[in-house]
């Protein structure tokens, strides 16, 4: 197992290095002057030159790459051209809200999708199976941008049940000031025992979580169903039945556990997909996370920020895949060999 962990970790590092190199080269190849983004559209020649020197943009590509990589290793990821803050501090600010949003959404998706898939597998060929499949397909088919706006119109404008956007009602700052811990109100409120802000931030979470959770919920349902049905048809299951085990044991102990393997592998894939979807959802719901930051960085050709976002997403994705692989190896020893 230790050898497997070491090998997978090395492979992951190689992927990250490759992403850094590729992204750096591509970002530098895009024509345009990032100094204009920093100095503004009316900057004079002298001002632009000063900015280029300040950020090393007047150096050769190789010098810029060496500076960038050595900075990354030292923890200096450069200065964002559109926020004028260090990229690291920007990312430290925007990552937690996105991670909380996506994690809760995936949790909700699993809570809905897996039972839906199990139900479909148990109802195989009957009306329940058909209904479950229809729901799952609908969930994966809904365009997230459209779903987000629809949720706002129905649950905010028409019904008034949930807030339209934001993380919590700022009016609560007067009566229940929130003390920051990680910079995500729902978590900070929970950790500091601020019940009014906690319940209000939960309300603010509902619509964006639903918007992000829809696709993975449908995907979990379909994969759980398919995987279960495949396992239920296996020889070992037939043998277990023949030995007289109850249907409950057959289903729960002997079919479900191996069926979870592809579902766990799916988590990494839907995490990446959900992270991408969160870019759009954050924009619609004013969620101040990585997605909003990435969009602004792209719009302003903010190369340091674009590189920072890409590196973070790569690290998250590679890290999650590594964890998934290790968990799978733990569950199924055959994978280690």
């Amino acid at each position: 197992m230790a050898r497997y962990i070491a090998l997978r970790t090395l492979q992951s590092l190689g992927v990250v290095v490759g992403v850094i190199v590729l992204t750096f080269v591509v970002a530098r190849l895009i024509p345009g002057d990032p100094a204009v983004s920093y100095a503004g559209p009316r900057a004079t020649m002298d001002q632009l030159e000063a900015v280029r020197q300040q950020f090393g943009l007047d150096q050769s590509m190789w010098q810029q790459f060496v500076s960038y990589v050595s900075g990354v290793v030292r923890g200096d990821w450069g200065t964002s051209l559109h926020t004028k803050q260090s990229v690291i501090s920007d990312l430290m600010r925007v990552i937690p809200p996105t991670l909380v949003l996506v994690a809760i959404a995936l949790g909700v998706a699993a809570l809905i999708g897996m039972p839906l898939g199990i139900f479909a597998a148990r109802s195989n060929g009957r009306l329940g199976d058909l209904a479950a499949k229809m729901i799952a397909i609908l969930l994966v088919s809904l365009p997230v941008f459209w779903l987000a706006i629809l949720l706002q119109i129905v649950f905010f404008s028409k019904l008034g049940w949930f807030p339209v956007a934001g993380q919590y009602d700022s009016a609560l700052n007067a009566s229940s000031p929130l003390y920051g811990v990680i910079g995500v109100p729902v978590v900070d409120a929970l950790l500091t025992g601020n019940l009014p802000v906690f319940t209000d931030s939960l309300r603010h979470l509902v619509l964006p979580v639903i918007a992000i959770a829809a696709y993975p919920a449908g995907a979990f349902a379909m994969v759980t169903r398919a995987s279960l049905l495949e396992n239920l048809g296996d020889e070992h299951v037939r043998m277990i039945r023949a030995l007289g085990f109850s249907e409950l044991s057959v289903f729960g102990r002997f079919a479900l556990k191996p069926a979870l393997n592809p579902v766990i592998a799916l988590i990494a894939l839907v995490f990446a997909y959900s992270l991408t979807n969160s870019f759009i959802v954050e924009s619609v719901f004013n969620w101040p996370g990585l997605g909003s930051y990435a969009i602004k960085s792209i719009q302003t050709l903010d190369i340091p920020a674009i590189l920072g976002v890409t590196l973070v997403v790569a690290l998250l994705y590679v890290g999650l895949n590594l964890i998934v692989d290790l968990v799978q190896a733990l569950i199924d020893p055959r994978i280690r060999t």
């Binding site: 345009g32 990032p34 559209p41 009316r42 001002q47 706006i149 049940w161 949930f162 934001g166 719009q299």
Partner: protein, 530 residues
């Protein structure tokens, strides 16, 4: 024995219901106005603050800075004149080289320090010395003298309309340079301010939805008698649909720009007022006079006549109004004498005379514009169709501004575009900005992206500021003449003037649009409905 699997869906449903009930138990969205008589909520689609230093600030934060800081003068959109602000009166010497401003008495900065001539001099000198942002507006200034506590004297290197310049939305703020005990720039960076305006910084949370809150400055010289907003919240809402919903629910007071479709749908909507007015910002198509086919004036004329200017305005459904000449309405030199007229037959004839069109060579032109700007995309699509109708193949490329600009400034003439579409607007309410930046010859090119060189025109442009400060009527004639020349030579067809379409809560009273301060709301001047 409980069948765990049969009951699993019920358990899940129960958990979700519990979560939903917990969430729903909070306070429902309020239907009462956001201001409640006290708070004005500005719903902006971009982050508000990129720079806190009033000497350097040159971006979105203008909407907040103009409520925290003040200038010596202000451009009044109702009268079109320059009116007193921190200066109560001013005069210039006959040669236009000396300007004397009398400052308002008993004005203090928000930290209690007096705003006097010494403080004002220090602020402007610091802005000039930092030479960043829009500091170039003070280029004409040689020395500044604080003659006494309320008398500020500017000696200029050349005559310039300093009263206008001092009203600029950028780089003209008067602030306390002694506000910080240490590094003032670093002090500003932490989200501090030292202005004389009606509001002070209450709270600043960068990157959050309610990014900035301003609260009433208790020592504001204008006083707080009568009904005023006591606080201003700048809310960042990138999505227009979300912003409109906030406005309609009473959680927003003002949306600075909305699409024509939304504007139409909000007209007559309950609780919402819409307002529209032409800005000082226009969209121009800079034709390449230096290289490529459009170096031929006849072909430039053909392009100018092929464009359907009325069609553009109709298609944009109110987000632009028709332009006459380079200078937008409301500025010195605006004229209706210079008309842009579409004439397809004449365009075809001009093309034929130049050897293009049916039976001749095929003319292909490269156009660049800013990708992601819906108005530019629509206009360019229309231009493509217009030019195709006369036999010109228009290759349009949407690029990020930085890319488009770099291509336009390229030293390789062959890689430059034939037509450069972009916006221009002045830093202060004066048309000089167009001419010095877009039409005066510059090597290498900066914003003169028609690459036009005309020594006589350059000479005229160089004298405009002096003329404006000395004889505005004569300056006006000069501007009209320049616009006629530009039109005759088809240097840069003006595709339209941006029309600000805004939405406000009906609880906001007294809003007057001021195109000299783009998207700025002077909140102190508004009256909330009780």
């Amino acid at each position: 024995m409980i069948n765990k699997y049969r009951s699993a869906p019920l358990v899940v449903a129960g958990l979700l219901a519990t979560l939903a009930l917990t969430a729903c138990s909070g306070t429902a969205p309020t239907a009462s106005p956001a201001n409640g008589g006290a708070t004005f909520t500005y719903v902006n689609n971009l982050d508000v603050v990129t720079q806190w230093d009033p000497a350097i600030s040159y971006s979105n934060e203008v909407i907040a800075m103009n409520n925290i800081y003040e200038q010596l003068t202000r451009s009044d959109s109702k009268t079109g004149k320059i009116v007193p602000l921190l200066a109560t009166k001013w005069e210039s010497s006959p040669d236009g080289l000396t300007w004397t401003f009398t400052l308002r008495e008993n004005v203090t900065f928000s930290n209690g320090s007096p705003m006097d001539a010494t403080a004002a001099k220090a602020a402007i000198e610091r802005t000039i010395s930092l030479a960043s942002g829009a500091a170039f507006i003070w280029d004409s200034v040689d020395t500044i003298t604080a003659q006494d506590a309320t008398t500020l004297v500017f000696n200029l290197k050349y005559p310039a309309p300093l009263d206008l310049i001092a009203s600029s939305a950028y780089a003209a703020f008067i602030y306390d340079t002694q506000a910080a005990s240490g590094d003032l720039a670093a002090w500003f960076e932490t989200g501090k301010a030292a202005g004389t305006g009606a509001y002070v910084i209450g709270d600043w949370k960068k990157g959050t939805e309610n990014e900035l809150t301003l609260t009433a400055n208790p020592t504001y010289w204008g006083g707080w008698d009568g009904s005023h907003y006591q606080s201003v919240v700048f809310k960042v809402v990138p999505q227009e649909t979300t912003a409109v919903q906030l406005l309609q629910s009473g959680q927003g007071s003002f949306i600075p720009r909305i699409s024509s479709t939304q504007f139409k749908s909000l007209q007559g909507a309950e609780g919402v007022t819409t307002a529209q007015s032409p800005s000082f910002q226009n969209m121009l198509a800079m034709l390449n006079t230096a290289s490529g086919p459009l170096a031929d004036p006849m072909l430039r004329q053909a392009v100018a006549k092929a464009i359907d200017y009325d069609g553009i305005i109709t298609t944009l459904q109110g987000s632009m109004v028709k332009a006459t000449g380079v200078i937008p309405e409301g500025l010195l030199g605006y004229t209706t004498e210079v008309q842009q007229v579409s004439n397809v037959e004449e365009a075809k004839m001009l093309l034929a005379n130049a050897g293009y069109g049916p039976g001749g060579e095929k003319l292909s032109l490269a156009l660049t514009y800013a990708a992601g700007d819906p108005d530019q995309e629509t206009v360019v699509t229309l231009m493509k169709a217009n030019l195709s109708a006369v036999g010109i193949d228009l290759q349009a490329k949407g690029l990020a501004w930085e890319t488009q600009w770099e291509l336009g400034k390229s030293e390789d003439l062959a890689s430059r575009q034939d037509i450069f579409v972009f916006y221009w607007y002045p830093d202060y309410a004066d048309p000089f900005s167009w001419f010095i930046n877009l039409y005066r010859a510059a090597t290498p090119p900066f914003f003169n992206l028609s690459y036009w060189e005309d020594a006589k025109v350059d000479g005229t442009i160089d004298g405009l500021q002096e003329l404006t400060s000395r004889d505005r009527d004569q300056a006006e004639l000069q501007y009209v003449e320049l616009q006629a020349t530009i039109s005759d030579q088809a240097i840069s067809p003006v595709l339209g003037v941006i029309n600000y379409q805004r939405a406000l809560s009906s609880t906001v009273n007294g809003y007057v649009d001021n195109p000299a301060y783009s998207n700025v709301v002077f909140v102190y001047d508004l009256t909330p409905t009780d």
